[in-house]
């Protein structure tokens, strides 16, 4: 089969993460405490492919681009990176997408800063693009288009634009514009070097194609955009659109027919599906979960908000209702990513005043605690993310965050602190780099580490990777947690002896941090 358009990415993207999305977070770090091959086996194993090298599961965004091109009549397919060679010789256009091409997003940038070592997502992508077959195809006239949520990173890494001969960058929702660009590329017409799709040109629901082939771990979009307008977030800049249940169900069928037994409902706040403003729509949510459970053994959420959880449960008993639908002999818990962001009411008012809605922002610490209590009770396991280095952050804000971390010690969760990356409405602000790290940040990171280690052990014992086939993986993760615990104790001892300032301005070779800035900005 000769393809005109090949769509691909590197192994950290084209993988099923053993069916466990959270393991994908390990692709944002360097191989820590083990060889890279083992690290990659844990977090990014190769998926099954068909006889022409198409992966059984591929990132949802690539599937959308693939679907748009197929619907427009192009001979296009997502191809596994290990099978590129046979297709790239005859293809006219290569499209690549990524969550984090150059490890500039959180938490990659933080792990790089703290360890001084390049995260595997960046290493893996650069290895892909440096393959001789791509270089040779480029010399023969192959066009290359790069897109996805990390397209902006090429603007900070222009040396790679030059090295790989990228013809066009596409930033934003690409479903409409990608067809026009593909036509130009195949006809040999002039291509723009840069395209940003603004909110006025975002595709309507009818213009967003259904995926044709399965997505990683059954991830399916249920809506786009978010009405909360947090200043650090790029997604809230997009218009809010809800997928009708029929459209979602069509994509459920695509995944189920491919043998996928899990489903991830994707939204910035799943509990706002079908909402009127910030008022949840219980009927729509119940129907959505009932429908998902018809097709899949397990149903999880990509993201919810803390205020959303508290309100949905207090007003409608929704958390109880929805978990009752999804929990059965196949599923005992539900994992989800949740933005904690900050413990400071002052900062919350400045950067995310609607994050707490419908509650007043002054209630933020109480909202956090109440919501975590609800989730703990219903066996919902949040991976909480905190942002360190927000613009205008002060010592009192860091103290408030540290205090909140103490309050939530007893609730099952992982807490990942992330360094501020200029995005969304704050995209013209400065980066948070080594010289900005203060003692307050280190204290927060320390509390997050011990909280997460404690609860990671509990989660693995009681909920995660319980299937017999995952025994080797469970063993590897336990060994990793033990290693991180030892390393954490070593770092704490070093800090007590040398002081936190030595961490950010290292003068000793024995400094366990080895901090370095990720990019020249």
């Amino acid at each position: 089969m000769k393809l005109d358009i090949v769509i691909t990415s590197d192994r950290t993207m084209i993988t099923h993460h053993h069916g466990k999305e959270f393991l994908g977070f390990m692709t944002t770090g360097p191989p820590f405490g083990m060889p890279e091959r083992l690290w990659m086996w844990i977090c990014a194993p190769k998926p099954k492919v068909d006889n022409i090298g198409r992966p059984l599961q591929a990132p949802y965004g690539l599937r959308k681009v693939e679907a748009a091109l197929i619907d427009a009549g192009f001979n296009a397919a997502v191809i596994d990176p290990d099978h590129l060679g046979r297709h790239i010789k005859s293809a006219k256009l290569l499209m690549v997408g990524h969550h984090d091409y150059f490890a500039m997003a959180s938490p990659s940038v933080e792990w790089w800063l703290l360890t001084g070592r390049e995260p595997v997502n960046r290493r893996s992508f650069l290895r892909l693009m440096r393959r001789p077959e791509i270089r040779e195809a480029k010399l023969r006239g192959l066009k290359i288009i790069a897109g996805g949520p990390a397209a902006w990173q090429w603007l900070w890494n222009t040396e790679f634009l030059r090295e790989f001969g990228v013809d066009t960058l596409v930033d934003g929702e690409a479903e409409k514009v990608i067809v026009e660009l593909a036509e130009k590329a195949l006809k040999g017409e002039e291509l723009p070097i840069y395209v940003y799709v603004g909110p006025h040109e975002a595709p309507s629901i009818n213009e967003i194609p259904d995926i044709k082939y399965a997505s990683v771990n059954g991830l399916v979009e249920i809506m786009r955009g978010c009405p909360r307008n947090c200043k650090f977030c790029p997604v809230t800049l997009r218009p809010l659109r809800f997928y009708p249940l029929e459209k979602i169900e069509r994509e459920f069928k695509v995944n189920a027919n491919a043998g996928i037994t899990s489903c991830i409902l994707h939204s910035e706040d799943v509990l706002l599906y079908g909402s009127r403003g910030l008022e949840p729509n219980p009927d729509a949510l119940v129907k959505l979960h009932d429908t998902a459970k018809k097709y899949f053994r397990t149903v999880t959420w990509s993201h919810v908000t803390l205020a959303g959880v508290k309100y949905a449960q207090e007003r409608y008993g929704l958390i109880a209702k929805l978990t009752e639908i999804v929990y059965d002999e196949h599923q005992r818990f539900l994992g989800v990513q949740v933005g904690l962001e900050t413990g400071s009411m002052r900062l919350a008012k400045k950067i995310m005043p609607s994050k707490t809605a419908p509650y007043p922002v002054e209630m933020w610490p109480q909202i956090v605690e109440d919501s975590l209590a609800i989730m703990h009770e219903h066996r919902i396991v949040p991976a909480l993310t905190l942002i360190l280095g927000l613009p205008e952050e002060g010592d009192e804000d860091l103290a408030a965050t540290a205090e909140l971390l103490d309050r939530i010690k007893g609730y099952r969760s992982l807490i990942v602190p992330m360094f501020f990356v200029p995005m969304g409405a704050l995209r013209d602000r400065g980066w948070f780099l080594r010289e900005h790290v203060k003692e307050g940040h280190v204290e927060i990171m320390r509390r997050c580490l011990w909280h997460s280690l404690r609860w990671a052990e509990d989660i693995i014992s009681r909920f995660y990777l319980k299937e017999p086939q995952h025994a080797p993986l469970r063993l590897a993760l336990r060994a990793f947690i033990a290693y991180v615990r030892r390393k954490g104790l070593e770092i704490e001892k070093w800090l007590r002896e040398n002081g936190w300032d030595e961490m950010v301005n290292p003068s000793q070779m024995s400094n366990p941090f080895l901090i370095a800035p990720p990019v020249q900005v």
Partner: protein, 72 residues
């Protein structure tokens, strides 16, 4: 859709021109198409970076015509 099409030369005046891109005409547009004549498209993108990064509301398309020179 209000579109604005600008043709520019990436010589020493590009940065001056970029500063004036916040004029009324641009503010009313929700799509900007830039056609830039330049000797080096990657350098041109580097020089446009701050403008591109700071934009969140408008669609932007940038064409770079390499080897283009300003007419006398």
């Amino acid at each position: 859709m209000n579109e604005t099409l600008l043709e520019l030369y990436d010589d020493n005046e590009l940065e001056k021109i970029i500063k004036t891109l916040n004029n009324n005409e641009i503010n009313l547009s929700n799509k900007i198409i830039l056609k830039i004549f330049s000797k080096d498209k990657v350098k041109t993108i580097e020089r446009l970076r701050d403008f591109l990064i700071s934009n969140i509301n408008k669609s932007i398309i940038v064409y770079v015509v390499e080897g283009g020179q300003r007419e006398a």
